[in-house]
Amino acid sequence: MKTRTRWDAVCEVSDLIPDSGIAVWTEDGPVALFYLPDRLPALFAISHTDPFSGSNVLARGITGDLNGEPVVASPLYKQHFSLRSGECLEDPSVQVPVYRVLLDGDRVRLEISVARSEVAA
């Protein structure tokens, strides 16, 4: 089956919080958006779901970098996830989905794969 993607507008720039995360709802499930103004690119998007607890909390973690890699720490059990690859630094066998993200004027767009949702529809 061919996978198509779509760039969905999920929020405005004014919704972002510098050096921190927010959560948005997409057809692919909840996604955490991080805005790190000191980096280039400054926007990162990974799944909002913490794979260790199954709860939707990653956007509420503390951001930072470890050995230069941009990361967020899960607010529940404190594992670090790379904002670029989604890989868990403490347990590389665990990975969370990552999304491409871009700025379109004042709008923030996420690349969402829609094949599944179209089939479901």
Partner: protein, 835 residues
């Protein structure tokens, strides 16, 4: 096979230590163990007996707990003296019954020697040995003005200190020409005398008491052989100890000429099934009147009963270091230079009251003994030279010269042999410490917990720290106090940088002093430091990204991503109306409700987007945030106090509310818990808190640095009978010093244990203002108290801050699909995980 019977007679420090050692050994499985104690109290720390007069209770001094005995399967017979031993039937008899033994341990200790002076039976004459003795002395001191101690030895001076702390004019009467004749020489004795007379204790040497008669103005008069006399209201005899060997004599065991139960190297008496340890035992013609040799005997016997062929008691080092009436006194090895050919090096500063003497071998290479009065800084190094036979350096005199005279720095830990004893109370050697480090301990606190080093008298604290640091370094564990990879500084150093340079944002700090973008270690730590220094709202834009989610959303995240809410209930006092509001809010939002251990109410299961509405309702009813999410003051627990309780002596609820309102919102390295009890029954459990306050009939006793949790720790008594103002000022200083100097996530107990000098140092800083920062600490606390704001209120009132509480910013109506609920005991709770 049925178990054999082991009976221990005597439940003092040594008897208890034996039980601790034996109960943990394999042989314990083969025995039913019984212990008989004459006193009704469980074994307690006699070394620190005088603290009983400054606020310590039996519980503070106790060596173990009834629970420990029960868990170890040891049957306790307290207040049940053994009256006879029958060696043929191997039976001991008490007023309650008789019990057979296979092995019998005598740990009967000693009794105070009272010289045969006419009149010594007067009711105002006492000895100084048990808690009952102290109770009697305290009762007799009421209404008296003067107290005399007969005996100027170590215990006598302790007793004099006790009389002084009861408010009496204290005198010491000594038969010998100087104080502490066993440990000190004439010059040392003279310096000690001068020092303690300056403290208001009068010393009379070369006095032999002939009679004690009724006094004219006072209760008693002591007449001396030189026809002089001394008027006093009570007398405490502390003229030495005698081994308590009565039972052993009665059953025909070998007894020394001057008393003492004769034992061999395995602490066994002339009967192979009877053993003796501690002050009742006579080894090689000697009685050991200190606790450390008693402990060594206890360990030897425990090993011997485990058939350890090598277990042997081979004598003990009688070196002592102590603070008597606040004066340092130390005595090591052959202090009097009795070794043939020994030579002396002396330093005597009468001006400062410092005296030190080294006894060195004839060839000048080894240290045989030493005496010091006035300053014990030299003790640890000298002891290591003497105990381990380390060659003295050239210019050995530098070891006792003051630092300003080119005195040598302390002996480096590397120079110590592996067998060097670091902590003599718990027999911890350098090898043991290395072993603890190799098995995973990574810091001083860990080594202390693992080996128990420095948890006895505490005299080895500085030496232990040096050894640990040096060994860590050797293992390539750089003793790295950097907080994380972004800052090459400890939390304390960061605190100074922020404060001194007036830095107000994380970004400013990391640009100037760090690298990279920060992480979940340094960001909250810096957030806490900034809050302590400047007390801005923690959700100010610059600070939001620094906070853990709990601080960001002012609630505690639970495992399913929802939050719990804990409003502040100062002192646990709440009006019915406010309680009803809590109930209504919980009902309306279907929140699981539970009473916390800190005397408040926790409401679970609120979603992120519900939080601001819930707070609006709570704020309207007069609630504030309880900071249950923060590294900050949690609660001040209280009992109902003198307002209602027939035992209460102060208004504990009022004080708890005052303290909670004063320190709420203070950001700290870790959470802080407090409690206030209205009387000594201690219903608020204040001694398990960081700050514990217990009412006395004169004011408040302050305890510090306790905690519950994984490693519970009793708080230490810090100051007694404080007024309200003194109490608050003291707490201000302790807390602010903690906030400024602790590492991140370091509770007060670990912080204090890691301070070089520990509790005494903390007392110096806070009570004596030894660093001259007392006023600054108080001022800083005033600032923080003055700029308190309820974080909820500020958050709810600001639309920008409220925006943060949207669960999904693009779908306000969407509820989190993973949150699944069920009902249990009539309340909603998350569905258990399927795994």
């Amino acid at each position: 096979m049925s178990k054999k019977n082991l009976i221990v007679i005597g439940n003092g420090m040594v008897g208890h230590h034996f039980l601790e050692q034996f109960a943990a050994s394999p042989a314990a499985r083969d025995f039913e163990i019984r212990v008989f104690g004459e006193e009704k109290h469980l074994a307690y720390d006699r070394v620190h007996l005088s603290e009983y007069f400054t606020g310590s209770t039996h519980a503070d001094l106790a060596m173990g707990t009834p629970d420990w005995y029960a868990e170890s399967g040891i049957v306790l017979h307290l207040g049940e003296p053994v009256t006879g031993i029958d060696r043929d039937t191997r039976t001991v008899t008490t007023p309650e019954g008789s019990y057979t033994y296979d092995e019998l341990v005598l740990a009967t200790g000693s009794y105070p020697f009272v010289p045969p002076i006419e009149g010594r039976e007067h009711p105002a004459c006492f000895v100084y040995r048990t808690l009952e003795d102290l109770d009697a002395i305290r009762a007799s001191a009421q209404g008296g003005e003067t107290g005399v101690v007969v005996g100027g030895g170590l215990l006598g001076l302790e007793a004099a200190n006790a009389l002084k702390s009861l408010g009496l004019n204290a005198h010491v009467v000594e038969f010998a020409p100087r104080l502490m004749p066993v440990q000190l020489d004439d010059d040392g004795g003279a310096v000690l005398r001068q020092k303690i007379e300056e403290l208001g204790v009068q010393v009379h040497t070369e006095k032999a008491t002939t009679t004690i008669v009724e006094g004219e103005e006072t209760r008693l008069r002591m007449n001396f052989s030189d026809d002089s006399h001394l008027d006093t209201d009570l007398i405490v005899f502390s003229a030495g100890i005698r081994p308590q060997d009565t039972l052993a004599r009665q059953c025909g065991l070998d007894i020394g000429e001057r008393g003492g139960i004769v034992v061999d190297n395995r602490c066994t008496t002339s009967d192979p099934h009877i053993h003796a340890i501690g002050e009742c035992a006579l080894w090689n013609g000697r009685i050991f009147g200190l606790v450390a040799p008693g402990y060594t005997m206890a360990r030897t016997l425990a090993a011997a009963l485990n058939n350890d062929e090598e277990a042997a008691f081979t004598g003990a080092d009688m070196s002592t270091k102590l603070k008597l009436l606040g004066v340092d006194v130390g005595s090591i090895g052959d202090a009097h230079g009795q070794t043939p050919g020994a030579r002396n090096i002396r330093y005597n500063d009468e001006q400062a009251g410092h005296y030190r003497r080294m006894v060195v071998s004839g060839d000048g290479k080894k240290l045989l003994g030493a005496i010091m009065v006035g300053d014990n800084h030299y003790y640890d190094t000298l002891l290591q030279y003497a105990l381990n036979g380390i060659d003295l350096p050239d210019h050995a005199e530098s070891l006792i010269l003051p630092a300003s005279q080119g005195g040598a720095p302390s002996l480096g830990p590397d120079a110590l042999p592996d067998t060097a004893s670091i902590c003599s109370c718990h027999n911890v050697t350098k090898v043991d410490i290395c072993g603890a480090l190799d098995s995973g301990c990574t810091d001083l606190g860990g080594v202390k917990a693992e080996t128990r080093a420095s948890t006895g008298c505490g005299g080895c604290a500085a030496l232990l720290k040096n050894v640990v640091d040096s060994e860590l370094e050797k293992r390539g564990v750089e003793v790295n106090t950097d907080i994380c990879e972004h800052f090459p500084y400890s939390r304390q150093e960061l605190f100074h940088l922020v404060k001194v340079n007036g830095i107000r944002t994380f970004r400013g700090l990391i640009r100037q002093y760090g690298k990279g973008h920060g992480c979940d270690i340094c960001k909250p730590a810096v957030g806490s430091i900034l809050a302590t220094c400047w007390n801005d709202h923690i959700l100010a834009t610059d600070h939001v990204p620094l906070q853990d989610t709990n601080d960001t959303f002012l609630a505690n995240m639970q495992k399913n991503g929802t939050y719990s809410i804990v409003p502040r209930v100062p002192g646990g006092e709440i009006t019915p109306d406010k309680l009803i509001v809590l109930g209504e809010v919980a009902r309306d939002y279907n929140l699981y409700t539970k009473i916390t251990g800190g005397q408040r109410v926790d409401l679970f299961g609120a979603t992120l987007s519900q939080l601001p509405e819930i707070w609006e309702k709570l704020i309207a009813a007069g609630f504030e945030t309880g900071h249950a999410y923060g590294k900050s003051l949690r609660t001040v627990k209280s009992c109902v106090g003198s307002t209602w309780c027939r035992y209460g002596v102060q208004d504990s609820v009022g004080m708890a509310i005052f303290l909670e309102n004063r320190y709420k919102g203070l950001r700290s390295p870790h959470k802080i818990k407090m409690a206030v009890s209205g009387c000594t029954r201690e219903c608020a459990e204040a001694q398990s808190k960081d700050i514990g306050v217990i009412a006395t009939d004169k004011g408040w006793n302050l305890y510090v640095c306790g905690n519950g949790g994984m490693r519970p720790r009793h708080a230490d008594l810090f100051a007694t009978d404080l007024t309200d103002e003194e109490l608050v000022r003291t707490i201000d200083r302790v807390l602010m010093f903690y906030v400024r100097t602790a590492d991140r996530l370091q509770r007060t107990s670990v912080w204090m244990e890691n301070l070089e000098g520990g509790l005494d140092y903390l007392k110096d800083v806070v009570l004596e203002d030894s660093l001259g920062i007392g006023a600054e600490l108080e001022e800083h606390m005033e600032d923080i108290v003055g700029t308190y704001q309820c974080e909820w209120k500020t958050a709810v009132e600001d639309p920008e801050k409220r925006k943060r509480f949207r669960e999904f910013v693009n779908a306000p109506e969407k509820t989190d699909p993973v949150q699944q609920w069920t009902t249990e005991r009539n309340q909603r709770r998350p569905v258990a995980e399927s795994s």
